[in-house]
Symmetry: D3
Subunit: 314 residues, 6 copies
C-alpha cells in the first residue's frame, strides 16, 4: 500500500492524491495572494502553502475537492508543512474518489447496523423499543455516516455508530455483572444519546456547527426530538421522560452541558460508559503513534495529559 | 383589619383562621404522636405543634385545609412557634375561604392580563407574535395564578404574571433608551421565559416539583414546548430557534442551568432584566420588614447577603 | 427469619440481640448521665438512648459488645431512635455471636479468594505477578475481612475483596473489547489499589483511622509498600514504577488525593473501573430500599444526589 | 466624507492623515531598525510597519503625533497591516488637527454636562447633593473628556460622561417603576462610581495606568477622595459612609475588585445598571459591524462570547 | 490560684465571679422566659442558662456586667453548659473588677509600647517615620488595648499590639538574613497594617463590627486614613502610595479582601509574616490544650484543620 | 571581568565562550536545516540560530558542550536572539571549562556543608538525627550540586543546598521567637523536604525529569525513601511517620501536590518557610534586574505578578 502523507518524513517529497479539508486565502509580505490548504488522506493531515495563487487556483482548490499534489515536506513552528510544487484537480482517469481519502471507522456499516438492530430487538419495554426504532429508521443513513465529534474521539466517518456499538458492547457485559440494570433503558440511552449531533453538525465529513447547534446544542435538541417522536408515535408514560432525562444528563455536570446531573441509575451508567469508550478511543489511537518508552502528544479532551507507553509493552 | 399571624408578638394569644401549608406527623419522647403544621395567612407563616394528636386530627388537618386556631405564640430555636390550644376545621358559617389566606401579587389579574395582551399587540413580527399569543391563550389561567418560584422572589399567587409584567415595564423603557433592541424578541422572551414552571411545579399554591420538573427542569421543558407550538402553528424560520435560545440561555451560565450562555443581544438583556426585577422584589420586601439603621435577614438568593437600610431613609 | 432492627416501624417494640457499634456518655438536662448507643444487626443500624445509666452500664455496654435489648422504636429529629427499656450483655447460653450481626459481602470468602488467585494465575509478566502474589500472601487474611471503606460503598465485612473481584470482572470484559489493554497491569492495579487501607484503618469491623492513615493516607502508604516489597523480592525494572504510579493516580485528580493523574492507559482505566463499581454498589443498595416512583436518600459520595426509581421498574 | 482607514480593503492604497496611537522600535532579521506604529482615525485602527527607520524617523513619529501616510493595506497573521510607502508629520497648512482623528461619544459635551447638572439639581438630600456637586465642579473638564475605560466599553473621548449619562437615564426610569429606590443615592453613586479613573489613567487619549492606578486602583482611590471631600466640605453623617460603600462595592464581587459586595439597595442597583449599560455599549457597537446572519467578534469583557445577529434583523 | 471556669469538669459545681460576654432572652417550651448568657474568665468561656428569668434579671444581667455565679457544669449538644443555681451582680465589697476576667496578651503594655517606639526610632526614611509615628501617637491608647481580631488569633486585650510586636521580631531577623529588604517599609507596614480595626471594631473587649466596618472594612478605611494623615503632615511622594499599597494588599488575594495583590517586595513579606504569626498564635494555643498523641480541635481560620501533637513532644 | 552575554545590547557583537544548554534541529523555509541553540554563561541565556547547519555541526554542537561563538545580538518577537557568524568547539588551549559558565549559588559548598552538619549536630532526638544524617551522608555530593528546581527559584548549581541553608537560618530565628517549636523536627523537615528531587531530576545541570519523576514525583518518592532508610537503620516510632508527613504535606494543599495538608505544627512552618525563602530568592533576583521606578518581568511562580521597585530605593 502507498505510503500516506502522515508517514512522510521531513525533507521527503510527496506525490499523490489528497483531499482538501479546508482552504483559506492570505496575502504574503510581498503583497501576493497565497492559499493555505489543509490536505488529508486516511493516514492523517498536513498544512500546505500554495504561494502566488491565481484567482483560478482559488476557484479550483476548495474544501472537499480531491487533488493530485507534488511537494516537499518541510516544517513551520514545529509542525510539518507541505510546500506545494504542483497541484491539479483530480481527473476521472485518475480512478480515485474522495471517500478513499477519508478516515473511516475500523468496522463496516453493515456490521454496525446489524449490532444496532440486534440491540433494539432485545428490548422488552415496547415504549422504549418503539421510540428507539423510530429514530434508527428516521436517521439511519446519517447515523451510519456521521463522526461522533468534530475532533477528539471517533472523529471519522461512521464514528458515531462505531462509538454507539462499542458502548453497547460494554453495556451488555455490565448488565450481566449487575443484573439490576434495566437493559432496555441503558441500550436506548446509548443509541439515542448523541443523535442530536446529526442536526448540530453540518454533515458527515469536515463538519461545522449549524446555527441551531450553536444556539441550542445537541442535548436540548435531542430532548425536544424525543418529545416530538413520542407525540407522533402516540406514546405516553414515564418512559418518555426518563429517556429525555438520560439524554439531558449524559454529560454528567452542568459545567459540561447537562442542566441536570444523572438521577436515574442507567443515566449515570450511560455517562460513565460514554466517558470510558471515548477515552479508550483517544488513548489507543494516541498510544499507537508512539513507541515503548515514549509519551504521547497531549490529549486535549483528557485534561491535556500525555500518556506513557511502558517499555515492557510490545 | 384583623392582625395577621406575623404581627403577633411572643407571648400573645392568637385566635383566628389560618391555612395549613404543610402537615407532618411525629412521635414525641413520650411516644405519643403529634402534628407539626405550617400555618399561614397573608401576613406570613408560623410553625405550630398539635401535641397528642389523634388519628382523627391527622385525617382532618392536612395541607390546604383552612382551620380556626387558638394558641400561644412561643419560640423554638429562635423562631416563633404556635402552641395550639384548640383547633377545628372551618365551617360554612365562618364565611371565610382559603383564597383569603394566601399571599397575592399587589396587582390584580385583570390588570396583569391587560398588560400582557398589550405587549403582544405591539409586536410586529408575525411569527413571534403568533407563538407568544398561542402560549398566552393556552396557559392563561395558570399563568395568572402561579407564583414565579417556590421561594425567594414573587412566591405568591399571580407572582409569575407580576414578575413578567414588571420585566415588560423595564424592557419598554430600555427599548426607548437603546433603540437597536428588537422589542418583539425581548417582549416574547420575557413573557415565555418561565412558562415551563407551569409544568415544573405541581400547582399555584404550596407547589412542589413534578417528576418532569425534577428530571428535566423548566428550561429544557419550555424549549421543547416552543418546538411543539411552532409545529402546531406551522411556523418555520429562525424566529423559533432564537426564541428557544432565549429560554435556554436566560439563567446566564451553565452552572445556573443554562447549557448555552446568551448569544443574542435580547437574550443577554432578558437575563439581566430577570435578575434585576427578581432582585428588586426580594430587596424591597426584605427592607420593608426592618427599620432605618437595621440590616435585613440574610437573603438566600442574593448570596446570603444582609442589606442595610440607611438611617436617613424614612 | 427474625425481623431485623431496620424493618421495625415507628411505635413497634424490638426484643432481640444487637451489636454495639459505638457508645458515648452524655449528661441529661436533669444532670443524670445517659448512654448514646449505635446498635446494629445485618439489616441496619439505630440510635438508642439508655437513660440514667449507671457506672456499671457504662463499663458493660461498649463498642463491639453484643447485647440483648428490649425497647420501643420512637423518633428524634426525623430519624428512628430506640428507647431502651431493658438491656443486658449476651450470655453463652444465648447461642449467638457477634459475626452474625455484622453486614457481610454477598459472596463468600472462598469464592473471592479463588477469583483473586485465578487473576494472578493468568498474569504473564513475572515481575507484576510476583509482586501481586506477594501482597496477596502477606495480607490474605485482612484482605478477605476488611471493608473497602469506612462508609459509602462496600462498607461491610469482605467489602474490599468484594470490590476488587467485581472490578476484576469488569476488567476481564474490557480486555476482550479493547485488546490493547495490558491485562497484567490492570489486574495488578485492581488487586493492589486499596491495600493501603489495611494499614489506614484500624480493623475489619467498626474501623477508625490509624495515625499513619490520618497523616500519610493509604495511597502514599501503598506506594511505599510496593517499593519495600520489590526490594525484598529483588525485582527491578519499570514494572515497579508503573505499579506505584497506578496506585498513586487511582483517585484521578489531585483534589481527590492523587498527586499525579493517571498517565498510563491502564491507570486511567483502573480509576474509571473503581468509580464504576463503587457507584453501582451505592446505587443498587440505595435503590433497593425504595419502591418504584420513589427517590433514594441523598447519596453522599455521589454528589449528594437522590436517584429516582422509575415506576416501570419492578 | 473621506473613507476611513477601517473601511479600506486588503490590497487598497491609503493616502490621508492618521494619528499615531503607539510607536515601538524593533530590529529586523537583517539587523536594520524598524518602527511598529498603531495608526488611527475615527473609523478605527491599523498596525503599520515603517521599515529601515532612521533615528530621525524614530524622533518624529511618536505617540500622539498626527501624520500624513501613504501605504498599502496588506495582512499579517489574519489582521490588516499597513505597509508604509511614505510618511510625514502634519503641517499647519494641512488644516487638520488631532482631535479630528479620535473617536468621540455620539453625544456632545454640552448635552452631557446639562444632564449631569440636572441630575444633581434634582437631589433632595443636601449632603449627597453637595458632595456630588463638589466632584462635578472639581473634575468637570476631565470628566467630560476621559474615556470610561482603556478598552472594552465607552473607550472614546467623553466616554466616561456618556456612560454616566446613559446610566442616569436607566436609573430615572427605574425609580419610577420601583418608587422605594432612593434616587439621590442612586444618582450620586452613578455620577461618582468611576471618577477614580481620572487619577487611575494618565489622560483622556491613549491612556495608560498611573503608578497609583496600578498599586491602589480607582476604587479605593475614590473611596479616599470622598472622605477628603467630605472633610473639606465639613459634611458628616451616614451619607458619606454609604456613598463610599457604593463606590467600593460597585464591581459586585471581591474577585472583580470590590472588597465588599453591595449591601445597600442602591449599591446593588448601581452595579446592575453599570453592567447593563457597559454591555449594551459593547453589544450594539459589535453588532453594528456585522450583517444579519453573522456572529460578532469575541467580546472580551463579556466572557469572550460571539453574539449572533438574526437574519430577520434589518 | 482559683480554678477557672474552663478547668471545671462535667458534674462539678462552679462558685465564683464571671464576666457576661453576651446575654439573650428566650422563651422556654413552658412559655416562661429565660436568659442565655455567655460567661467568661481568663481561662475561657461557657454557655449558661438562667431559667425562669424575671424582668429584673433581664435588666441586671447584661453584656459587660461582672457577676457572682453558682451553678453546675452540665452538657448540651457536646458542649459544656452551666446550669445557674444563683447569680448576683458584683458588689464593691467583692473586690474584683472586670479587667481581671478578661484574657490579656502575655506581654505587658509598657514592653509592647517600648518595642513599637524602638522600631519607629530605627527608621531612616523621614516620610515613613513621620507617618508611622503620627499613627502611634494618635491611636496609642486603643492600639495597646484592642484585640487583633474578634476571634481566631490574638483575640484578647492588647492582642493587636502583641501581634504587631511579634511580627516586628520576625521582620528584624529577616532583614538580617535578606539585606535587600527595606526595613523602614516593612516595619511601617507591620505597625499600620491592621490599625483600621480600631474603627472597624466597636471596642477593645467583646467587640462587634461598626457600620463603617461592615460597609467599608478595615483595609479601605486605613488606606483612607493614611491619605488624611499624609495631607495633615504635608507629606508627599511615593512613600505615601507605597504605604497605602501595603495596607491594601496585605490580605494577599482579592478573595481575602485585598483588591490588589502585593506588588512590592515588602508588601509580599508583610502578608507572609502576618500569616505566619497569626498561624503560630493559633497553633501554639490550640496545641497547649491537648496532650501528646492527641489532635487539637478544628482550627477554623486554618482551613478547619485539626493538628496532631506527637507523642515524643513533652 | 569580561561582559556576559546578558549584558550585551541589541546590535552589539558578541565574541567569547558560551555553554550549549539545549540544541534542536529545524528546517527553514528554504528547506535547509538549521540549529536552534540555547547558549549561556553565568550572566544569563540567549536563543541563537545557526543557519544552514551541516550534519557535522549537528554532531558537534550538542547540549552540554562549551563553544566559542561570534555573532550579532538581534531580536525576534521581542526577545534577544544571537545570529551566529562563527562557532567552534572549545579547545584545551582555550583554558576555559564548562563549570565557569554555569550559574552557581552565591555561597560555596564548604560553607553550605558546614551549616548542614551543624544543624544535624544540634539535634537532640536520636531517631530524627540518625535519619537526617543518613540522608546527608548518602546524598552529600548530589545535594551540594543540584539546583532546587528546574526553573523559578534557586535554579543554579548548589541551589538546593543554598535553599536549605537559607531556610535553616529562618528556622533558627523562629525557634528563638516561638520556643514551643520542635527544632529537631523543623530542621530535619527542611533538610529532607526536597531531597526527592535528586531522583526526580536527571542531573545537577540542565536537568530534565526522570520517568519516576514524571510518574511518581519527588514528594511520594521521598516519603518512600524515608521508610527504606528507617528500615535500614532499624528505627521505629512515630518520628518516622511524622517526618514522612512533613515531606508529604510541604506543598501545603492537594492542588499543589500534597495529598495531606500540614497537620503538625512544624509541617505548617516548613511549608511557610519554604514559600518565604523561594519567594525572596525570586523577588530579590528579579528586582536586581530593574531600576528604581520600574516593574520587574512577570514572575511566573508568584502568580505572574510584576513587582515594583520604589523610586526611593537605591
Amino acid at each position: 500500500m502507498k505510503k500516506g502523507i502522515a508517514q512522510h518524513q521531513l525533507g521527503e517529497t510527496f506525490d499523490y492524491f489528497l483531499l482538501i479539508k479546508s482552504a483559506a486565502k492570505g496575502v504574503a509580505s510581498n503583497n501576493k495572494p497565497f492559499l493555505t490548504l489543509l490536505l488529508a488522506d486516511t493516514s492523517g493531515e498536513i498544512d500546505a502553502k500554495l504561494w502566488e495563487a491565481t484567482p483560478e487556483d482559488e476557484a479550483l482548490f476548495q474544501q472537499g475537492e480531491l487533488v493530485k499534489v507534488q511537494g516537499d515536506v518541510g516544517q513551520f513552528r514545529n509542525k510539518p508543512q507541505l510546500k506545494i510544487q504542483s497541484i491539479r484537480p483530480v481527473q476521472p482517469t485518475d480512478g480515485v474518489q474522495a471517500t478513499d481519502f477519508i478516515a473511516k471507522a475500523p468496522v463496516n456499516k453493515e456490521d454496525l447496523m446489524e449490532r444496532l438492530t440486534e440491540a433494539i430487538f432485545e428490548m422488552k419495554n415496547p415504549s422504549i423499543q418503539r421510540i428507539t426504532r423510530h429514530f434508527l429508521k428516521t436517521y439511519q443513513e446519517d447515523l451510519l455516516n456521521y463522526p461522533a465529534a468534530v475532533r477528539n474521539h471517533h472523529e471519522y466517518v461512521s464514528g458515531l455508530a462505531h462509538h454507539i456499538v462499542s458502548m453497547l458492547n460494554i453495556a451488555k457485559q455490565l448488565t450481566i455483572l449487575y443484573p439490576d440494570i434495566n437493559q432496555d433503558l441503558l441500550y436506548a440511552g446509548i443509541i439515542l444519546h448523541d443523535l442530536g449531533k446529526l442536526k448540530e453538525l453540518s454533515g458527515p465529513t469536515s463538519p461545522s456547527y449549524t446555527l441551531e447547534g450553536k444556539l441550542i446544542g445537541h442535548i436540548p435538541m435531542m430532548v425536544e426530538e424525543i418529545r416530538v417522536a413520542a407525540d407522533e408515535l402516540q406514546i405516553e408514560g414515564e418512559e418518555v421522560t426518563i429517556l429525555q432525562h438520560m439524554i439531558l444528563s449524559h454529560h454528567g455536570k452542568s459545567e459540561w452541558g447537562s442542566p441536570k446531573p444523572p438521577l436515574v441509575r442507567e443515566a449515570e451508567l450511560l455517562h460513565q460508559i460514554d466517558m470510558m469508550d471515548a477515552g479508550m478511543n483517544m488513548l489507543n489511537r494516541s498510544l499507537k503513534k508512539v513507541g515503548p518508552g515514549e509519551f504521547t502528544e497531549k490529549i486535549y479532551a483528557m485534561d491535556q495529559r500525555s500518556f506513557y507507553k511502558p517499555t515492557f509493552e510490545k
